[in-house]
Symmetry: C2
Subunit: 199 residues, 2 copies
DNA sequence: GGAGAAGTCGAACGGGCGTTTCAACTTCTG
DNA sequence: CAGAAGTTGAAACGCCCGTTCGACTTCTCC
């Protein structure tokens, strides 16, 4: 086995630029617009350099996903340990900036098995994190864990957030503002109940 | 203006075959695998014929969407008028066969504006249908329309269903069976409550 | 049965794609 | 300061794409 040759600092920086450009393209034009040429054009390099930096296009998507997923998982863990876990979690989930990229990843993973595998690992990790914490949390909110088990609450919350963001990004007018307002009020009530019960 | 000459019966049938093949490809390989050549290959015709039959590829996606959307909207209307509206609706929403295609459409619409427009019209129509019916229905289930307004219930139910189907199709193991079971039990309770209240 | 529309075919257009190759160049290291 | 390792540029590979075109066959209707 040949020992690894270390990259120069400038190269490491360029890799970050390539990942940034890829995210940007995914958000602006959809994941299908990502190609070695489009990414290279945005960064100001030649197409083959993209492959030199990150490998195949599959590897590129995986690298972007991993970088983002780590950040979001950390944010989620923080949110679930905050003063108002439900509210913090919801704010994170319902934020278009975070969710928009993942909608693209979900779509892209349908015909990029390598990406799907990584996305699956991440989805399982996030769901596990949510469920474990909800196990302790739900009783504090006055929710019966038999009637509303963590698996259901987690899936419904995330599904609702994704649905709202997807409709809003698509410009579909499906009363998302109304739903968001009602969800905010529901969270108000639940957080108040929790506060009362822990006093 | 020359009056339109009507298409031959065989052609009408071929158009249906083209739409069928497109659906099949979307489900099996993802929407990105749809091309005049792939569709033509599946049907056993030449690529230009696809354009002769349905026009551009955008038109092809729109035609497939419209055909399916009409069917699903009708099924939804039926479900919401059935004996157990909530259960029927949930069964329809949570059925992978129906939802899988729409996940592809949502993804494809991100970079096909023409498709996005039609999808938006359809999403609005479906949401409106759900909300109008829920307005009458929710009180019967013992749900306060102030606490749980139709917009929230509709978005959450649909979001949950899409999330579950997406995870299952992707093969991600995110406790979807647990969530489905809990949802079924919740619907059992709600339908029982409704039955009791209407007696 | 013949005019003309509907349908079919094969070839071709310009273009974008992922990726490889290879030679030239820079930068670091001993 | 030489040579190794890292980096860059240009060109090219084969492939698939949407779509158009013109010539052909088949059908329909008067």
């Amino acid at each position: 086995m040949a020992e690894k040759r270390r990259r120069r600092a400038a190269t490491v920086e360029k890799v970050e630029q390539v990942l940034d450009a890829t995210e940007r393209i995914m958000l602006d034009e959809g994941y299908a617009a990502v190609s070695s040429r489009s990414v290279a054009g945005k960064v100001g390099i030649n197409p083959p350099m993209v492959h030199y930096y990150v490998g195949s296009i599959d590897d590129l998507f995986v690298a972007v996903l991993r970088r983002r997923a780590e950040g979001i998982a950390a944010q989620l863990a923080d949110a679930l340990e905050s003063d108002e876990p439900l509210r913090s979690w919801w704010q994170l989930a319902a934020d278009p900036r975070g969710s928009a990229l993942f909608i693209e990843f979900i779509a892209a993973s349908n015909h990029r098995p390598a990406l799907g595998k990584v996305l699956g690992e991440y989805a399982r990790e996030v769901r596990k994190l949510q469920m474990e914490r909800l196990e302790e949390l739900l009783p504090l909110y006055g929710l019966d864990p038999i009637e509303f088990p963590p698996a259901l609450v987690a899936a419904a919350t995330q599904g609702l957030a994704f649905g709202l963001v997807a409709d809003e990004l698509g410009g579909h007018d499906t009363a998302t503002a109304e739903a968001r307002a009602a969800m905010d009020r529901l969270i108000d009530r639940l957080e108040a109940r929790r506060k009362a019960s822990t006093d």
